[in-house]
Symmetry: C2
Subunit: 217 residues, 2 copies
Amino acid sequence: MFLESEEEEEEEEEIPPLMAVEAIEYPRGGGGGSGGELLVPPPNFAMVDKGIYRSGFPNPANFGFLETLNLRSIVYLCPEPYPEENAEFLRSHGIRLLQFGIEGNKEPFASIPKAAIIGALKILLDLRNHPILIHCNRGKHRTGCLVACLRKLQSWCLTSVFEEYRRFAADKSRLSDMRFIEMFDVSCISQCVLGLIYRYNGCGPQSRRLIYKEKSA
Amino acid sequence: MFLESEEEEEEEEEIPPLMAVEAIEYPRGGGGGSGGELLVPPPNFAMVDKGIYRSGFPNPANFGFLETLNLRSIVYLCPEPYPEENAEFLRSHGIRLLQFGIEGNKEPFASIPKAAIIGALKILLDLRNHPILIHCNRGKHRTGCLVACLRKLQSWCLTSVFEEYRRFAADKSRLSDMRFIEMFDVSCISQCVLGLIYRYNGCGPQSRRLIYKEKSA
């Protein structure tokens, strides 16, 4: 139905440049209710920003969906080894695994390690790693904290950052996470990336580039 | 800090084409905790897909944030007239308002009108309207149903469609909405767009194009 390559141009006064996209077939014959294969996103899946996705732990049922994202990298926020089935999926698709082993936070005894979040943020900010998927186990706490720190870097007010955190964590929201998010000083990012240039594709339709330079450099 | 135009190229073996983005200053001097103005996204704001956003009703406090999205269109799903302040914001930014007046659904007496959802879906699928924001009052029910129908068109399994619906509606989730979503036959879209070509920028990094053609045409 929608894999036709034939075109019938509609008469329109103004056709902006966005129309000049390349015709690419929709993967898996999906959509349209025409009997195409159903896609199964991982739990708690969402698009964070252009080129950045988040979710809970993907299992083999999600691999078909993940293929449609054309991922270049995965940021994995748990300390446990990556399951062989998942590792094989990554190898066969040329996806790079970047692991930041953050222990599951059993409050009030532990809190999110700042260094891991900073390391993961650097990865997120580098367009060369996009499209990128962030995931932990449930896509609630570790992933939620990382995305929240990204939002702070995007100048979101704390109320909105918390609203988004809670949307994914729901009744598992943790005060210790929210305290970590509130206290996280995004200016430290600039102090950690001396000599590196981070290109960041911000929220919105146009590519943007943030260039971080050490102030004292 | 990050508005520097000076570049220090890091030595890297492989620089994919994504690096070739244009240098655009980050709006509002945001991020980095450098004292930039905070951005206030509308309630229940999220990115649905590349070029498609969703939220609750934006108020003037959100206009600064909305500016960063460079919206071309807004799909407004309530029957009430658009507030003058918001209409003025749209006029001054060249944003087109597309209204589909769906009554607030007080179950079990009313349900989402299929024709309005189909009309709004057609707008969403047309790249010429992107970047586009969908909103109703709370960004839960009307917006949730529209996004859910889009997900069905993207071949998401119903479990994942409902998971996303519930993430935004939370304790206000409605069985009547979920029934509507389940029953919505996305193949009807193809039957409604005879003679029109819809270009759709699917989930993922690459622009895709769906071309809908009436089967019987």
